[in-house]
Symmetry: D3
Subunit: 300 residues, 6 copies
Amino acid sequence: MRLPHDPAPRGKDVVVIGAPYDGGTSYRPGARFGPQQIRCESGLIHGVGIDRGPGVFDLIEVVDAGDINLTPFNQHIAITTAQEHLSALLADNSAFLMLGGDHSLTLSALRAVHGRHGPVAVLHLDAHSDTNPAMIGGEFHHGTPFRHAIDEGLVQADAMVQLGIRGHNPKPDSLDYARGHGVRVVTADEFAELGVRGAADLIRERLGDRPVYVSVDIDVFDPAFAPGTGTPAPGGPTSREVLALLRTVGELNPVGFDVMEVSPLYDHAGITSVLATEVGAELLYQYARAHHPKNTEEEE
Amino acid sequence: MRLPHDPAPRGKDVVVIGAPYDGGTSYRPGARFGPQQIRCESGLIHGVGIDRGPGVFDLIEVVDAGDINLTPFNQHIAITTAQEHLSALLADNSAFLMLGGDHSLTLSALRAVHGRHGPVAVLHLDAHSDTNPAMIGGEFHHGTPFRHAIDEGLVQADAMVQLGIRGHNPKPDSLDYARGHGVRVVTADEFAELGVRGAADLIRERLGDRPVYVSVDIDVFDPAFAPGTGTPAPGGPTSREVLALLRTVGELNPVGFDVMEVSPLYDHAGITSVLATEVGAELLYQYARAHHPKNTEEEE
Amino acid sequence: MRLPHDPAPRGKDVVVIGAPYDGGTSYRPGARFGPQQIRCESGLIHGVGIDRGPGVFDLIEVVDAGDINLTPFNQHIAITTAQEHLSALLADNSAFLMLGGDHSLTLSALRAVHGRHGPVAVLHLDAHSDTNPAMIGGEFHHGTPFRHAIDEGLVQADAMVQLGIRGHNPKPDSLDYARGHGVRVVTADEFAELGVRGAADLIRERLGDRPVYVSVDIDVFDPAFAPGTGTPAPGGPTSREVLALLRTVGELNPVGFDVMEVSPLYDHAGITSVLATEVGAELLYQYARAHHPKNTEEEE
Amino acid sequence: MRLPHDPAPRGKDVVVIGAPYDGGTSYRPGARFGPQQIRCESGLIHGVGIDRGPGVFDLIEVVDAGDINLTPFNQHIAITTAQEHLSALLADNSAFLMLGGDHSLTLSALRAVHGRHGPVAVLHLDAHSDTNPAMIGGEFHHGTPFRHAIDEGLVQADAMVQLGIRGHNPKPDSLDYARGHGVRVVTADEFAELGVRGAADLIRERLGDRPVYVSVDIDVFDPAFAPGTGTPAPGGPTSREVLALLRTVGELNPVGFDVMEVSPLYDHAGITSVLATEVGAELLYQYARAHHPKNTEEEE
Amino acid sequence: MRLPHDPAPRGKDVVVIGAPYDGGTSYRPGARFGPQQIRCESGLIHGVGIDRGPGVFDLIEVVDAGDINLTPFNQHIAITTAQEHLSALLADNSAFLMLGGDHSLTLSALRAVHGRHGPVAVLHLDAHSDTNPAMIGGEFHHGTPFRHAIDEGLVQADAMVQLGIRGHNPKPDSLDYARGHGVRVVTADEFAELGVRGAADLIRERLGDRPVYVSVDIDVFDPAFAPGTGTPAPGGPTSREVLALLRTVGELNPVGFDVMEVSPLYDHAGITSVLATEVGAELLYQYARAHHPKNTEEEE
Amino acid sequence: MRLPHDPAPRGKDVVVIGAPYDGGTSYRPGARFGPQQIRCESGLIHGVGIDRGPGVFDLIEVVDAGDINLTPFNQHIAITTAQEHLSALLADNSAFLMLGGDHSLTLSALRAVHGRHGPVAVLHLDAHSDTNPAMIGGEFHHGTPFRHAIDEGLVQADAMVQLGIRGHNPKPDSLDYARGHGVRVVTADEFAELGVRGAADLIRERLGDRPVYVSVDIDVFDPAFAPGTGTPAPGGPTSREVLALLRTVGELNPVGFDVMEVSPLYDHAGITSVLATEVGAELLYQYARAHHPKNTEEEE
């Protein structure tokens, strides 16, 4: 992930782009420093995964386009700025991997992706459904992006899987909204029962070969594995389980990615940033696997 | 858990009560700040559990009665003060949830509960058996509460399960004492083998429908999940496993609760306090489930 | 582990020896303070393991010989100094347990052990294979010890198991080197599939009753369990899994041990040091089990 | 400062009120948790100042009215909500002490104070002048409150002293604006040259007996004394110097107070919160001194 | 301060002795780990002071006698155990330097010193007077040692100077008690006015050549310089000022020393422990200066 | 300091260059991450200094050339690599500002500067003289650079001032060496007596208009102001004093700069990195002042 820096990339396979913003955060702030810290820790990542033949950077072209310049003060402006920036990247490149930043910006990403691919399938790993209603003064807070996305027709809700969901939601709650629109919600406990292979099968069955956007809220991991985040939720899966699941993303048709909600202010040993880097690197490799199958076929 | 504050509650279902004290701590101090920190982090908890129908606060009446005023300097005075305070709460309300504070205060709790219910069954989640003998000058240190409780006849030792026990105890040790009095000790490894369902069955079989006091030492969790505690013990269960087990407490007849040994001084990202809040919220919901079954029946 | 201090031990079963050095560290430093911090946290350890009859210190004689005086500035001098010190210990005692310090010093240990036992089998728990080539100016960095050891004929490579390996290694990589020499590499994912018993069987089959050196890099644990280390690698096993595996070491013929790569600078709650202490204590007990089987037979 | 809690106070001398908000923060967030943390640390404060006769709480009536409920998402709403809340307090009580929260809310305070007292004098202790222009999407960011206040006629700019100012401002800068409106800017270096007594004289001369609002940005202290803040500026005064200066506030005619910009996320040992508590307690005492001179006359 | 270890020293000039205890702490605990952490950080200290001729360890014999074994649970037992241990040291050696541990143990020290020297003069550097009355259950809490010492006739109160006092004490307060017995109280502000030389003169005038016990509570320093302590008090002197004052102790007749109240739990960068080490090393040098004047005369 | 990035600058006034290396560190490591962290915190710096007319970046051309690629493993290679890199920069640009990294690299800088300017005067701000002899295996450790520089004839020792020196050095010590070669040593205490203006006069008198290299070890500040460093030394000057002194550097003839020994691992609130940024920014401004006097003349 010590990628070549290119603020105006053209013709790349995946552009890594930082989104330093936490203006949508309801509880613990700090995700505005997420991209910076992920880059600091990414010195640990030299390639992607053991026993995989060539490295990801031999398979696809990836650059780091730096950070989007986002106001911390106004959600409307931030959401729009991010969307325009991401749309511009997609005009000249195949895909992006956004490093957050709070989850509200996934709406920007989905708008940009929709502009290129139309309504997409979604694989959403998170402790929270993020299909809550807007609040007064907070139309685009970080609990809302997928509700907006469904309402705006950016995604195919019945080709959407949310995995890792847990926590506290008295009825009626945001899960009713998601399920009511056809989203398949896999709770953290259900993921534990299904196992990685069972979950991967369920996802592939649901999403098929539709273009799929993959959004990873770092709080999908139990707080032991990712303490550095704004709304930690105990009872989540381990890093081994989620990373194993991400290794199956290449069986899908991924067209865009994000890794969100890393708050370095709660990440004293940097393990959250290291984990986010690993997630990002894995997603890049899966993109290569999905779209350059010849080059990676020797893997299995 | 941003509960209504009521320093002199009457007629409530469960009273949350802080016990800011670590005068019984043998190793790392700091549990005196546990209640304060748990309250700070409880802003994350809005309800209890997904897919459960109405919220817990629609089912039962819960208030926060603040903290017991406890001297850090004298174990006898502290144990007695806490017991009197808790007894007074039980005179006017149905049950309490004590937030510790070190584990020695569970003796106070069991004395108070015994005063209302007679000898009770116990579900004790902990890395340590806490059935050690007193020490010179430390009659009520935090490794002794259940030995005192057995000796004083406060509990039905053969209706007592200790789960999560691990660590280092050359023979003869405190487990001999516990087992010698009929306590069923489930080690951390045995819990892993039994699984959540197996452990829940074992517990229900042992405790039946007796009134049961549930005591959770936060160090029952592996230190990865709960670093903020005084005597962390590696090799413990995950948050998912313990929380899943707690979700079966409503199948029993719970009459009192505590969550002990949270030391914020070792909890830099607050994940221990967040987890303790979750444990507390789950226990409240299980109380509702056990005692207001109609209201929660739509859950399963 | 508050062991009797003896800077010049003779006739002991196991000598605990600190190696405060991180001159071979490529990324995050701080392992130079590992031994100091492990000793600080070892107040938690009073014996070894529950349900095991007598304590380890009733079975074997163990002393703490303090720290080796190692320059932080020159790898050649440090490696040689450590080897001479360890060789001297082995001349007068049966075995040592080295507390690191970075992993490069395991080369010193293997040279010393080879001097007494000839080529030994190896059980190596680590996220990384540590069979990388030397670098200019860094002939003995912490990614190289097992390559040097194989090249120098210190170990029986076909009686060597590396377990917990994971992370990012584009081909061709250091695993090719290890496997090419007959090393059995068990990745973190394969360990999860095998389970503790399966892995223990595989190890015993491979190593038989050969003299075996056991080297534990604390980063074999997932960073959630051991954040305080220099090159944390997400996706690793839990403390329960690794500790359970270590409990089978007594079925082998262990002749030396190390616990390496603890960096207190990233260990704010001390859980890594506590875990390292537990690993060390378990290894001592397994040594007793292996070499004093009568005394421990009542265990199972 | 463990004050009686009264969410709807009437007839009090000073009402302490929390403003948990950092939606105006440009750099490091976290001031939203300032009031909570200041209350946690205030257990250290039992009275106010040595050698002063009776305690402050024997002289004036002070209560803690809890926190204003502020959206983190929208500056306009937050500023207005805070102002309405503070105006309501002033309708029923003599003065307030606001605990921030970021400095943008001082605009709310000055609007409320203006509503009761008309244009007031200001003593503003800060590393920054906070007379910057608004930004697109951030009309009320934390660098703007005194510019808005001057523009809105809430303050008498020529009876305004800013003390502690330092840092980096290429010309033309916000100081031009302040000075252009008659504000007396005392830089950190000038404060060092004047000494406490010289500065106090300058302030009294400038402000006379006009009603004065005292606003303390915790970053007026050098970061060594107050690391827990959003925009730390090296080269500031010591705690002794600023506290000594605050002890002269009772020579003025204070009508309102705030202590702003405490961010616990950067305050690992809590010394910033402890200092903020001390500042607040001192301001309360100075209010008593100014308005109840008989009771405190034995002091000198 | 990496001194030779000698658990049973005889004939030494000064014996360094740890007192790991915080059973007298009213607010923030952790001083029980003070001695351990001071020893960890003392690797920084190679000698004592620049431009001073020979090193202190060439002038006097100093050993480290390890820690006193103190129960955390019972103040009476702890105070007595410490006193007996210190008395035994004084029976065989000239003086001790106690590393705390909370300040209540200074009573033990004064009892031991009184046993050898009769009533002594005292130089007491602290933010707090520590002449408070006992509390129920806390007869020997850390705010009481000098009141007990005066009441027990261990010290010559009119040859006692307390320097650095500050903070919050509504009248009547503990200063009345101290002054009423003839103690000279130099507040932090008065120290700033006097300057180092003025304060040193005042002290020498007051104490003359009486045997003097020097007790340094680390909280005499402003919290910026010593955050790692239990009751930090803003507005204190700098490290330069206090260290300069300590350099005049050799003009007195010192017979014993302590450095108390270091709590590593609040000392994330270790600067408090480093400062405590410096204070201790300076006191050792001053002892040499006072009692071996020939050897150090070339200094000035 | 969010400077334009230019890895191969030509014709610039000052090139900022990172030196991520701590292979010369004797005690606390971590300076290898200094440049990275300083860049992270530099978002706080928008210009340089108040009341100064145009900003520094309007006066001189400054770019950030990124980091030198330095092995952590071999002092000889690192020192040589850094020197070659810096010499290459000086071939094409006027001056550099090196961000360390440990102080041993100042030898590289002085070699490079000597290659362009011949023997230079030196202003060296530090707690330590850094004129110690080499150690076995550590010829270029961080306590040696100025001894090597004097021995190699890179500097004019009699036009060298070391300021801030303090700490523990039994005689004979490194100060003898420095003074013996004509270096003027101003101890921390002497700096306090001289005051900023006195010290500045002393420096200007000594250095005159010779080309001067300015080296700032961040540990010149008291640890309260700069905890994030490897060998903190209590009793140092404040940030206000040192920054005020640096503001006089423009009266000299500066030709190169460094800011060394920032270790983020001990800098939890980032105040050391912020201070280092301020020091660097001030040095840039002073370069402009010295070499573009017309542009800055309106300042005074």
